[in-house]
Structure formats: C-alpha cells, structure tokens
Amino acid sequence: MVQRTLEKLAAIKRGEISAADSVAAALELIEKKDKKINSFIELNQNARADAESLDRKIKGGKKVGRLAGLVIGIKSNINVAGLRATCASRTLENYTSTYDADVVKRVRAEDGIIVGMNNMDEFACGSSGETSAFGPTDNPAAFGHITGGSSSGGAAAVAANFCDICLGTDTGGSIRNPASHCGVVGFKPTYGLVPRQGLIDLGMSLDQIGPLSRDVAGAALMLETIAGKTGNECVMLDVGKVNYSEKLESKGLNGMKVGISPKFSELTDPAVMDVIDSQVEKLQDLGAEVVDVELPNLEHGLSAYYLIVSVEFFSGTRKFDGRKYGKRIEEACGEEVLRRILRGRYISQKEYRGKFYQRALQVRTLIRKELMSALKQVDVIVGPTVPKLPHKLGAKLSLMEMYAYDYLTIPANLAGICAGVIRAGEVNGVPVGLQIQGKALGELDALQVMRSLEAIE
C-alpha cells in the first residue's frame, strides 16, 4: 500500500504542491461533500492564511515541521483559540475557545494546518455519532450507516479525504470504534503520554487524545507531535519526546508474540470474527507467533466503566453552570449527556460511594491486572475492535445495545494501555477494523504490527 501521508509531505517539501493548494483542495471537497457527511461543525477562516504563511516559509528555505502542509481536523472538545469548542452541544455552541490546548500548540508548531472543528457525539457521550446537537455524521465508507463515535467527524473526515489527520479523543473506544466503522487508522495512546490541557474530558482518568489517519505513518507522525511531558499539567507520564517514524519498517514480524483471547469470539458477531481471523492468519504468515491469552473477566469491564465515567463526567460538568460562558448544561444538553450526569450524581452520593463508585474502581483493578498479566506473555493482543457491525443511521437501539459496542475497547482505557486500529476487511461493504493492544508505552510494537499488515495489503 502506498504511504500517502509521507508522499504528500515529501511533495509539499519539494514544492510540487503548495500548502495553500493542499488546503484549498480540502476546503473545496468539504464544500462539495460535507453537507451529506456532516463531519465538521465549524471551519477555520484562517486556514488559507496559515497555509500561505507556511508556503512563504518553505520558499524561504526555512526549516519546517513534521506535519508541514498537512490538513488537520480537531475534535470539537479540544480548545482551538478563536474557534468554538462546542463539544457538539447547545451548552457550548457559542463558546469561543480562549486558549489553545497543548496538543494544538504542538500541531501548530509542527506546521499542521487546522481546517476546522470536527463533529462528535455530544460531550463524547456516545459510540455512534448520532447524538450531536448539530446533526448525525454519515459514514463515507458505508453510506447510510453510523460512523461510530464519539470521534465521528474525525474518522469521517479522514475516510472522505477531507483531512490528512484528525485529532480525536478516546475514553472507552471513541477513536478506535469510528476508525473501525470507517475503515481508517486510529490510535489511542498510553494514558498520560499525551497532554490533556485544553481537552474537555468525558472521563479524566480514562481520556487520551490520539490520531485518526489514512495510514500508519500519519498516525505515527501525529503521535510524535503531540506526545511527551509538558510540565503544564500534573497527571502525565515522565516521558520526553517519542520516536516511532524512524523505527517503523515494512517488514515481517519474526520474533513477535501476538496474543488473542477466546473471549473475543464469545462476544463478537461471527461475520466480524471471520474478518479478524483472516488477519490473524496474515500475522502468522508474517512470522508472528500467535498464542492464546486468558481474559476471563473482560466483559465485566463495561458496567464498571460506565459507573466510573459517569462520576467523573458529573464532576467535570459542574463548571458548565452558565455563569461564565455558555448555558447551564442540564438545561441545554441531550438525553444521553443528562443520563450520565444524573447517573454520576446518583452514584457519587455519600451513602452509595462504597457500593458503586469504589466497587467499580475495584473491578477496574481486576480488568487491569488481567490485561497487564496477559501482556506479560505477549508483545501485543489482537482482536476485533467492536463486537458487531455498525447499525444503519436512524435505527432504534436500546441503551444496553448501544453500550454493548464498547465491550472490546473499554478494557484498554481501564488499564491505561495503548491500542490502535487498522482496517482488516469488510462485511457486505461495511468496514471491519482489527484492534492491536500494546503494553503501557508499547506504542512502537503496536504500530509496527499495524505497519506490517498495512504493507501487505
């Protein structure tokens, strides 16, 4: 497979395409096609000017950043000064960001051109891309189906070729789930690797910002751009700059040990599992050793996750009281957002804390232990990203049916490990993504497995 991101970067550096043309082409395409897809909430009026300024830099022979000229989309829960961080909600529909999130500062420093704010599930409370106050997002890889969520707009923008790389966020699968449904690359970094200053969290102890891209090279470049300690917030890993691009090779996987759990097929739709199985065969062809790992309590992570995330979300939304900016959230938000606030409020009461919140944190320990222990035996764990195919837009699902999409992605958030998704195949034209989970700070191994599979496509 051609590494399009790297090719484009090289072409821009050589002067074959200008950053201005790159951005103009993107904006034209968005203008033509995004009404149907709805992957953007707001476009950046300064994008063209930013691109022109970069072109002058390039012409002047000055050193440019690793993202020079690439078209970048930012999820609407990340602060970009001057643009609205709406979180796809009426609550913040008029909140113009007063500062740049740290990841945005880094993207700008590497000369990425931000074209706009991507659509998402409202306040990241969803896995389908249908709950935005600004309308649902359609799946460019399978029109009429959901994109998945909550980073619905970012995945769609990459799938539709509007953007080269988008920044999404992942609390329980919100980067990986839409990456799988839209057939693009998605990556959730190890918890604490990427700064969250400026991210309007769903769950503070679970969220990470990560890339959605058309290829592994793009994801690696973006991770290198945004990862590393800043000193500008408290809860971060003590890790400096990271380097993946120079180490990734289109090579075999001899010596790599890959784990897969029988639990996966228990929980997953057979049609989806077939696609996964054929990818696992390819891994063996590439020389990897595939072994079984035990994850006996995997499915118990789901309800524990929803309790923890509700408490943290309730806490984080207390600032949306309508006094300083925006509206009071309870008065302006959608159903699922209100549900999580009320759930969080209920669980965090003094008399229930032990029974619910603390108990959920104990289950978290259990899931974490299992996953970490499995990862001691292997380098990565592979499997399906979602247990079933994305439903059609407008289909009515029960709450539990909706939450069930998250079974296989939640454990990585509970444990804080890294996990990436790459397109594995399709079922009746609907994309299926392979999930590769790595150890904490095991990004390189996970990316390498993804790269090797990508290279033989």
């Binding site: 602060n79 961080a85 999130a101 969250r196 500008n232 917030e233 408490v311 207390r318 009281d321 919140y357």
Partner: protein, 459 residues
C-alpha cells in the same frame, strides 16, 4: 449556660503564585479579573498545574506549630468538593484530606489541618464576581468546639494569628487573608455555623449576637436547629444563609487531575528542625533560660522580630534588665515610631551597649530612653549619640565640681537646711542637676551634698 464554640479558620499562605496555576496572588490593587487564567477561571478543558510546593511546606509548618501529628503513612488525596456557588469557577473546590491531626493551642484542641484553594470574590448584593482571588493557597485549621465564651474564643483567635505569623509564611491578617467560620451551639442545641467572618472583632460580635439570638429562641420555647448563617459586618448581625436547594453532600472524589501526596517522615523532621519556634513555647523557654517574669516574656514573644532581637541582646547584656526594657521602654519607642521590631535598623550589639551604659549608671533610664529613640531614628553607636545629645556620661570630677559650685553659691540654702528646712536640700539638688545639664542622678547628688555640707559644717 452550656456553650460550645469552634472555628474553621481559613488562612491564606504567602506565595507568589497561586496553588494550581502561575497567576500572581495579589488581588487587592488590581482591576477585577486581571490576575486570572483558564485554570483559575474554570475554562472548559483547563487542568490544574502541580500544587504549589511552598504552600504544601507552609501547611506542614503550621501544623507542627500547632502541635499536630502529621499524616505520614497514608495517601493524602487532593479531593474535589462539589457545590454550586457563583465564586467557585469549576463547581468544585480542591481541598486535601488532612495533612495533620490532633494538635493543641492554649487548651483548645486542633482537630485537623488541610490544604485548600480560595474561591473568587462574590459580591452578593451587586451580583459581581471577581476571580483574582480564585486559586490563592489556603490552609484550613479546624478546632474542636472547646471554647466556652466569646471572650475565650477571641483570645484563642488572637493567639492563633500570632502563631501563624511566626511561621513567616502567611499573609498578614489585614485585607481578608484570614477568614473563619464560627460554630456555636447552646445547651446541646443544633450547631449554628456563621460563615466567612473576616476579623477577630467580627467573630466576637457574631458570637455575642448568636448567643442573644439563640437564648431568645430558647426562651420562646423554640428549638435551635442546625443551620448556616452569614454575618453582616456593617450591622453586626447574622442572617440565615442556606436555603433548601443547597446540598450538604459534597460528593467528594479524589481529583483525577492531581496526583496525591504522601508526607515523608524525614522531610517533616527537617521542617520541624528548621522552622521558627512557636511563640507559646518560646515564651516558656525565655522565662526559664533568662529567669524573667511572665509579663515581660509575654510582651517579648508578641512579635517574632522582637523575640529574635531580645535573644540576641540577652547574649551581651543583662537579660533581666533587657527584659524590663523590652517590656516597657523599647515597646514604647517602637509604638511611638510605628516600627515593627523586625524593621529596626540598629543592631542588637548597639542596643546591648546602651543597656550596659544604663546598667553602669552612666546615664539615667530616662536619658537612656532618649538615646534609644535617637538610635531608632538614626542607628549609631550609643556612645556617639550620648555625645551628640550632650549627654556624655558624667565624670565623677564633674559631679564633685558641680556639688562644690552649688555649695559655694548658695550659703543661705545650706543654713536653711542645717536649720531643719528639708526643702533646701531639694533646691540644692536641683541646682547641681542644672549644672550637670541633667546628667546627674538625684540620689547621688543628694548623697554628695549631704557629705559636703557635713564636711563644711565640721570645719
């Protein structure tokens, strides 16, 4: 009447940066919402910076000053305390679990000490909020309800303020740097909490008002239910504050955005050895070491700078004389010149030298005070000042000559004295003192005069 009074004191810690962001901590002389940033105004997505180290250390010192045991074996989480109020930008206040427990100050038990951050300033009548103060580090000191009267409570608060000042790490009391919630219950009735009283005087008045108000209620046969009230400074009354909507359940959770603290035993020991001695302990030690009375010791420790000066001086001059001087004349001079002891420019050596001169009776205490005043105004060696003031120590020969002169020039007075008129001695003494320009000691003069007159009489 069975009265129980307790305090929850919030004291601002003296730092340059706020607790969780780098904004300046000055909120008095700047326009509203100037010393603010996305963190202390609760902007969407803002995350706290790591806690201010100086604030943490100051809280530990304060806890040690109050005789508390620090919590060194448990995780101290910084928690989110959720409630809805206009001055709270994030809808929760970051407050730590206790860093120390079980202290005592002058008979009042200290239940716990922990770290907090100040909310912004809400002007409830105008409906204004200024976040300049939001995020300033606070230490909270919670007492047991051990005080039994407003007078006892007032005394305790004054003592507490002095102890806090001794650390040198808190902001001076003026300007709302210390605020206290006052808790009072009468005759086992419900606890009434009066929030955010800004001064010792205010606390005293609030307590007096509450006692009257609650007594009246009891007289009318009504129960005192547990409630929260506000103190209206201008009218010296308390009014009900919390309505039913406000929840009491703060839904505490450890803040996921701040790593917890674990206090290190070794670090605490180092802090204890380095910190200033608490005033109540210093008072005791000074009394024992220098054998000085309690009244003097009490004055000396009232200001840390004064106590430091005393101990330096006591090394080189008579400690007992020094104590008397510190208690009276020095205090008088400092008050007159509106100087704090830490601000004086003369050295302990200079003061000690002056005290030695006084002890040697080369000047009178009154003259000594003049020298002291001069020394405070413009520091110099006391010997020089004496010369400058014309108060050069009186030589024996000068005194003898003056006595001689008075005797020669006033024969009538001598006759009167010998005839039995005692007032004549006063007259003669006055003359001698005049000749010596006030430097002679009246008792010495009288002694010499008597001797000279006797001598003359014999011849």
């Amino acid at each position: 009447m069975n009265i129980k009074i307790g305090f929850e004191v919030h004291q601002q810690i003296d730092t340059r940066r706020k607790m969780y962001c780098d904004c300046p901590t000055n909120y008095h002389d700047v326009p509203p919402n100037t010393n603010v940033c996305p963190i202390c105004t609760g902007m969407p997505g803002s995350k706290p910076l790591p806690p201010n180290q100086r604030a943490v250390e100051a809280a530990i010192e304060i806890a040690l000053m109050l005789g508390c045991k620090t919590i060194t074996d448990q995780t101290v989480y910084i928690q989110r305390k959720h409630y809805d109020y206009p001055d709270l930008p994030s809808g929760y206040q970051r407050t730590s679990l206790p860093i120390a427990r079980d202290g005592e100050l002058h008979g009042v038990r200290i239940r716990e000490v922990h770290l907090e951050e100040d909310p912004g300033q809400y002007e409830p009548v105008a409906g204004n909020v200024d976040y300049n103060r939001s995020g300033v580090p606070l230490v909270e000191i919670v007492t047991e309800p051990d005080m039994k009267s407003p007078e006892e409570a007032r005394k305790f608060l004054r003592m507490l303020i002095r102890v806090l000042e001794y650390t040198g790490k808190v902001r001076p009391e003026a300007g709302g740097a210390m605020r206290t919630d006052v808790n009072i219950s009468l005759e086992g009735g419900g606890r009434v909490e009066v929030k955010n009283v800004n001064s010792v005087k205010g606390a005293y008045r609030a307590l007096k008002y509450e006692i009257i108000r609650q007594r009246e209620k009891l007289k009318r046969g009504q129960d005192i239910t547990r409630e929260t009230r506000a103190f209206l400074e201008s009218q010296m009354v308390t009014v009900p504050m919390r309505t039913k909507e406000t929840e009491e359940d703060y839904r505490y959770i450890p803040d996921p955005d701040i790593f917890p603290l674990i206090l290190d035993e070794t670090k605490v020991k180092t802090t204890r050895s380095r910190m200033a001695e608490p005033p109540h302990l210093r008072e005791k030690r000074l009394m024992e070491k220098y054998d000085i009375p309690h009244a003097a010791a009490e004055v000396i420790v009232s200001e840390r700078g004064l106590a430091d000066l005393y101990e330096a001086v006591a090394e080189e001059a008579d400690p007992k004389l020094a104590a008397t001087w510190f208690q009276t004349r020095l205090k008088k001079v400092l008050n007159f010149m509106k100087l704090g002891a830490a601000e004086v420019k003369f050295t302990p050596a200079q003061l000690a030298s002056l005290l030695r001169i006084v002890k040697d009776k080369r000047v009178t205490p009154e003259q000594g005070e003049l020298v002291l005043r001069e020394m405070a105004r413009k520091p110099a060696d006391p010997e020089e000042i004496l010369l400058g003031l014309g108060l050069a120590p009186l030589k024996k020969s000068e005194l003898t000559a003056a006595v001689e002169k008075a005797v020669e020039e006033n024969p009538k007075a001598i006759e009167d004295y010998l005839a039995g008129k005692k007032e004549a001695m006063n007259f003669l003494t006055g003359k001698v003192i005049g000749f010596t320009k006030g430097r002679a000691n009246p008792r010495d003069v009288t002694k010499l005069l008597l001797a000279r007159i006797k001598q003359k009489d014999k011849s």
